[in-house]
Symmetry: C2
Subunit: 375 residues, 2 copies
């Protein structure tokens, strides 16, 4: 047996409980997430105490809530991303009143999870867009044939959108099969770029089972896609990590939160928006993270969205910053408010609303761009 | 373009809302889960109305809650399991007050998702255990060397446990690397079987990233494992589906709920225990599903657990029934109550409590077996 490395990473859990219960709850968490075994039956000579989670600090964070910083031995969790998630919140997700608030990896652990390949700087370079927010939209709806989706993609690119992604519901359906859609949309966007001198990129949705996901990625890159869209809630985080570290599939990755909402719909358990939409996609290797903005179709607060932004850009030694991509029912009229809130390092995702300002989508995209570029 | 098949599957969503809001909420769900696009901008000539979800019925289910049965065109979701989950609850998971209650697939869709290879009958045959509940335990704790874990496995098998699984936190850590652990534990259990004439099976945890998961499965089968443990919340459901339909990896699959608790910790949104711990693992191809029993370390109600049992065994044309495996802090003293509640088609999972009745684990396992077999 190799000598285990003694570095530890820490997770901050918010515990929602009554005065006096927090300590017991934190200690239970240390065991539940590691040995999951009654402490009294652990024969001391056989396993090192360091294998068990350790409460590093515990402080009151508000009325009936406490923040417990718990450290775990790196070797219990890394380098396997699924196992890291298991130590983070495997069984404890099943207990109410526990919310993952923040992750701080050791330098050793950051060596396992290298994060995004591009990050904010790299993605800006790809899009040729510096010192301003990026513009993002989605090709939809499901049901349109690939030819028509590609026509929309062309107009978006011609109007000045930077990142044109598949709607996350476009998979490989008969209406617009993946290969045909990816080929046509990539070609349409390259054609628009050739006319505008722009650098719009197409991000097809490669979310699928593991083999299929990689086949789609290889195909999409070959036909000229500029990024990949992945929903790790459906495909698993490991797919993100593997593509981010693949030598061949060296395109930016955009995270989509599909099937992960239940982590954040109950403020008193689950995973904080900052971690779910910021830190986790970032650690796994996404370069941009889509999440529901405040004031849209979803019900997220400004505080939650500020948390996501921080999770995307706060210092994480050696891990690149990524774009927060607020969306979910946003429109041109929301942009001024969003610019004030998010600043420059953000990508604004507007979908259906681009169709709400008359039939000339190119003009609407140009309005989108003008509003974003105006000071 | 091929002519799309017109079969539809239905999902029952429980909507938590005020009188008069349910209809609007149900209609919004139909759009959110499919075209995700403002209906007024959908050009009627281009996409068929059948692509959009359709409210089949809506009825009051209690105070401030309504059950909406919504149908979706099979072709929007299958045969890709991740995309099926996306149509089921992709974006709507991000909205509070929506809970997935039940899934009813069309025969066409059931052709895509064939479910478990073994099911209750097949797993009974493997274990040589008919007309009684199965006995299940976990090898742990994390931190023990493989040799000692194997010694525990031997004693469990010798004492009469049917299914001996890795703790879900045992991955490929330095303490007991996967290959060494799988080899030693499988060997130990075969040795015990040779002495007892029994048919205990070993279920190593193969949860990991996709490639690694399959490598582990292949290796484990070769060294004599009798089943596989997978947490699809970590590895993705597609891994379960692929193993369940693989010609070579023809062993029973045991589902573990790690990292999925947030779907069920808030009763007013997420996924019902019946679907999360029953229908989904079953459709994906698991033969047994572990979930937290009432009265243990977790906080599940009897009603929830009854729901899980129903999700595991209710009629789903052509899809085999699977074992519910209640666990999570259960002990010998809970067995009579559990027998009353679950009947015969169940596997009882007892972990740490097998160490709470003296040092002779073999005797404790025999007590476990006697209690289960007594009428």
């Amino acid at each position: 047996m190799k000598e285990p490395v003694k570095d530890r990473f820490t997770v901050t859990y918010r515990l929602f409980c009554r005065e006096g219960e927090a300590e017991v709850m934190a200690e239970a968490l240390c065991i539940e997430q590691t040995i999951e075994f009654p402490l009294q039956y652990v024969r001391k000579e056989n396993i090192g105490r360091e294998v068990i989670g350790r409460v590093e600090s515990l402080r009151k964070a508000g009325r009936r809530c406490y923040d417990a910083v718990i450290s775990f031995l790196d070797e219990t969790a890394g380098p396997d991303f699924p196992q890291f998630l298991n130590v983070l919140f495997g069984n404890s997700s099943l207990k109410p009143g526990i919310r993952v608030e923040r992750i701080d990896l050791s330098p050793h652990m950051l060596g396992f999870f290298k994060g995004p390949r591009f990050g904010i700087d790299g993605l800006r370079k790809r899009c040729g867009a510096y010192d301003r927010p990026l513009l993002c939209t989605a090709i939809k709806p499901l049901g349109l044939p690939a030819r028509e989706l590609a026509h929309r993609a062309y107009r978006f690119a011609y109007g000045g959108i930077d990142i044109i992604k598949d709607d996350h519901g476009l998979s490989n359906q008969v209406f617009a099969p993946f290969k045909e859609r990816a080929s046509r949309c990539a070609e349409a966007i390259h054609k628009a770029n050739a006319r505008t001198g722009g650098a719009a990129i197409y991000a097809p949705n490669i979310t699928s089972g593991c083999d299929e996901l990689f086949e789609r990625a290889v195909f999409a890159k070959r036909v000229g896609a500029g990024a990949f869209l992945i929903s790790p809630g459906l495909a698993g985080y490991d797919a993100v990590k593997r593509i981010a570290s693949s030598d061949d599939l060296d395109l930016p990755l955009i995270y989509h939160p599909a099937f992960q909402g239940s982590f954040v719909t109950n403020g008193m358990s689950g995973i904080s928006p900052a971690v779910l939409f910021g830190e986790l996609p970032r650690l796994a290797g996404s370069d941009a993270a889509i999440f529901p903005n405040f004031g849209g179709r979803f019900t997220f607060s400004k505080a939650s969205c500020g948390g996501v932004r921080d999770g995307c850009v706060r210092d994480m030694t050696g891990i690149r910053k990524i774009f927060p991509v607020p969306g979910g029912g946003m429109g041109l009229s929301s942009l001024d408010m969003m610019k004030d809130f998010y600043g420059t390092d953000v990508a604004f995702l507007i979908g259906g609303d681009l169709f709400a300002h008359g039939n000339d989508i190119v003009s609407t995209c140009r309005m989108f761009r003008e509003i974003v570029m105006s000071v």
